[in-house]
């Protein structure tokens, strides 16, 4: 079980990503990310995690050795990870890990996983504008650059992800994978529109909805003056406000889940006190089960 508090306290994000990936994919019998084949290229020794459908069973029968077939276009998956770094993501609640820290860990693990499969990964960090942009590329230097960008990420500004997601989608030259890590507190409907557009174009889209326990359960009793982290506005909350909040927030979560289901977007809700492998495993299992593209 990968404790997010422990992981976020480790300074080396590459190590954290590797530990997370190793802890998450152990037991998975297929690689969650892989490009589809076009032309046979060569054989190579089977490695744990390789998709069994590429094992040359006839060769195994003849030689008693396990080889997988490789094709010329085995690394043609392009992924773009979009991370929301707005001020609301700095919220940590009662825990030690903020939503941004948790998003950083998820993004680093996903990037490491994609790069280790030989696929291309890119990054978009945004709040009310694009703050960082790394186009999708393969290789270790790309992974390191991506991890450095994630490590430098700071929470600020309002949430306006529509434009950033449109750009991330447009930069995926062919059908690729768009991974969105956000608390989805955008004021308008642009994020929803851009996600739907990405699906329509033909990309695979997955949303990691990052929240804290406090946002979901609203455990505040009595009277409090609540200040919005992004706008700075305040509102006085009483006991009646708590009940109304839970109801409204439940509807908000349900609305996003319904939308994503409707558009064929993979929707994963993660709470920052959840072990990180648990947060990732559900998504990866669903992906393995999904039909290959």
């Amino acid at each position: 079980m990968l404790d997010p508090v422990l992981l976020s306290s480790i300074g080396d994000l590459e190590l954290v990503a590797r530990v997370t990936v190793d802890g998450t994919i152990s037991g998975l019998h297929r690689s969650p990310f892989h490009g589809y084949s076009a032309e046979f290229s060569q054989y190579r020794h089977y490695r744990p995690g390789d998709d069994l459908k590429y094992v040359d069973w006839k060769l195994f029968a003849r030689t008693d050795r396990v080889y997988t077939k490789q094709y010329r276009e085995t690394t043609n998956l392009m992924a773009q990870i979009a991370v929301d770094a707005s001020a609301s993501m700095s919220y940590a609640g009662a825990g030690a890990v903020s939503k941004l820290d948790y998003a950083r860990l998820i993004a680093a693990a996903l990037a490491h996983l994609i790069a280790s499969q030989g696929d291309a990964a890119g990054l978009v960090v945004y709040d009310d504008a694009i703050r960082q942009y790394l186009p999708s590329r393969v290789g270790q230097p790309q992974l390191r650059a991506l991890l450095v960008a994630l490590a430098r990420m700071q929470a600020s500004g309002a949430t306006a992800g529509g434009l950033a997601l449109r750009r991330a989608t447009d930069l995926l030259k062919r059908r690729g994978l768009l991974l969105v890590v956000s608390d989805l507190y955008d004021e308008d409907e642009s994020v929803e529109q851009e996600l739907r557009r990405a699906v329509t174009i033909g990309h695979e889209v997955a949303v990691f909805h990052v929240l804290t326990r406090e946002e979901v359960e609203f455990p505040f009793g009595g009277e409090f003056e609540m200040q919005d982290l992004e706008s700075g506005r305040t509102v006085l909350a009483g006991q009646a406000s708590a009940d109304a909040y839970r109801e409204a927030f439940g509807a908000f979560l349900e609305r996003w889940r319904t939308r994503c289901t409707r558009y064929g977007i993979d929707y994963t809700r993660v709470i920052t006190d959840m072990p990180l492998d648990e947060a990732l495993r559900g998504y990866l299992l669903r992906r393995i089960g999904a039909p290959g593209r």
Binding site: E215, M226, Q227, G238, A240, A248
Partner: protein, 454 residues
């Protein structure tokens, strides 16, 4: 009864409301929590700031008491207990008014002056009083007010004015004494011998050849006054000498005759005057600067004599003449300057005689003016009231006398210290209690939180 030396500080009692206001305000604002998004929070209809009752009444009471006690201490209270009033009434503050008029210096039949007796009496009074001041006065009626002013500021005590005097008639009048506040006592100490008769020279006039000398004496014998006028023929002038050149001897005689005719006061053989003119060519042996009291008095009177100074300013120093002053410049005192600001009349001492160097001709107006003014300055004016032999009747003094009254109720205003120190001590003790109450409150709260967490 309590007296407040700084009553304005009592307005600070309104500050006692501060702890109450702080108690009320500190806990009534809702805690602020930062939250990712408030869009799902329905605003509460209750007010953000609400009056709440204080959480700890005992703490509030102690804090209010601290402020109250501190303010009372700043007002410098003086507690008027019977014991304190008794102790104040047990001591006396005395203003000793000692008569130093001329009559006090006269020796009586016993050979002892009234001033000597007054010294002894004043010293004894100073020793007897808790607080005392000695005021030497040559005008008792005038200086009674000074004594009252001093007594106005003395620490709380019975107050009196003691007048040490020969009680010569006219020394003090009843009007001055009637202005003394009723609670201030008045006591007279009569000093000096009783004198039945006294004869004084009221005036003497210079006599020279051709002008008779005149002398008037006044004899005071109880209620009677006898005046005697003696006219003597021309005789040698005693106590007055002109130093001139032989050729100017006749001018010198003319000068003296003119001065005598004008009614100049007579000289004294005991207080000799030498007038030296530069043309004489002689220099009187000067022993030093003027030092005898009568010389100094005469010099001062001359410097203040407007007629004499005006005459000097009209003259001009005769620079061609032999100047005796140059011999010992440090011994000469300038009495008058000429129109150019050059010293024209100077004075010095020659033994027991006073030398006046006049840097003008014997026949000049300035020479005559100098001789006449100097004779007048030497004699001064005879203060006849000081020669009075009658005293203020004892019955009159008894009527004016009264014992000091008891210490008045508002005497605490003059108290040097106050009872504020006890209030400061109380405030300090209350501060310790407040610390203890606060630490106890925090301990209870922590324990409650630990229990809640468990």
């Amino acid at each position: 009864m309590i007296g407040w030396q700084q009553p304005a500080a009592l307005f600070g009692l309104v500050l006692a409301a501060i702890p109450l206001i702080i108690h009320l305000l500190r806990t009534r604002r809702a805690d602020r929590i930062q939250f990712p998004s408030i869009r799902f929070i329905r605003p509460s209809t209750t007010a953000a700031v609400r009056l709440r009752s204080p959480s700890d009444w005992s703490l509030l009471a102690v804090r209010t008491a601290i402020v109250t006690v501190a303010v009372l201490a700043l007002a410098r209270p003086v507690l008027l207990t019977p014991g304190r009033m008794t102790s104040w009434n047990a001591v006396t503050s005395t203003a000793i008014l000692v008569d130093t008029s001329d009559s006090m210096r006269r020796a009586g039949p016993s050979g002892r002056s009234s001033a000597d007796a007054a010294e002894e009496a004043a010293a004894a009074e100073q020793l007897a009083a808790a607080h005392a001041v000695r005021i030497d006065s040559d005008g008792l009626s005038r200086d009674v007010a000074r004594a009252v002013a001093w007594l106005r500021d003395v620490p709380p005590s019975r107050r009196e004015i003691v007048i040490v005097s020969d009680a010569q008639r006219g020394a003090i009048d009843a009007t001055a004494l009637s202005a003394v506040p009723a609670d201030i006592g008045i006591r007279f100490i009569e000093v000096g011998d009783d004198v039945r008769e006294r004869t004084v020279d009221s005036f003497g006039r210079l006599g020279v050849a051709g002008v008779a000398a005149r002398n008037q004496q006044v004899t005071l014998a109880e209620e009677a006054t006898r005046v005697t006028l003696q006219v003597s023929g021309s005789s040698a002038v005693q106590g007055l000498r002109l130093v001139t050149s032989p050729g100017e001897a006749s001018d010198g005689e003319k000068l003296l005759r003119a001065v005598a005719t004008a009614g100049a006061p007579a000289p004294s053989s005991e207080q000799g005057l030498i007038f030296e003119f530069p043309a004489s060519g002689q220099a009187t042996l000067v022993s030093g600067a003027i030092a005898e009291p009568w010389m100094v008095r005469a010099a001062l009177r001359l410097q203040q004599d407007e007629d004499f100074q005006r005459a000097a300013r009209r003259g001009e120093v005769d620079r061609s003449a032999v100047d005796a002053i140059r011999a010992r410049e440090d011994a000469w005192t300038v009495l008058a300057r000429d129109r150019n600001g050059v010293p024209i009349v100077n004075a010095a001492a020659s033994g027991r005689e006073m030398v006046l160097a006049v840097r003008a001709p014997v026949s000049s107006f300035l020479a005559a003016a100098t001789v006449r003014a100097t004779l007048g300055a030497r004699q001064g004016s005879v203060a006849m009231p000081e020669a009075e032999v009658l005293r203020i009747p004892r019955a009159a003094l008894t009527v004016q006398s009264r014992p000091p009254g008891p210490v008045e109720q508002d005497a605490w205003r003059r108290a040097g210290g106050s009872d504020a120190r006890w209030l400061w001590l109380t405030a300090l003790a209350l501060l310790l209690v407040e610390q203890w109450l606060r630490s106890r409150t925090i301990a209870v709260r922590d324990e409650r939180e630990v229990r809640a967490a468990a």
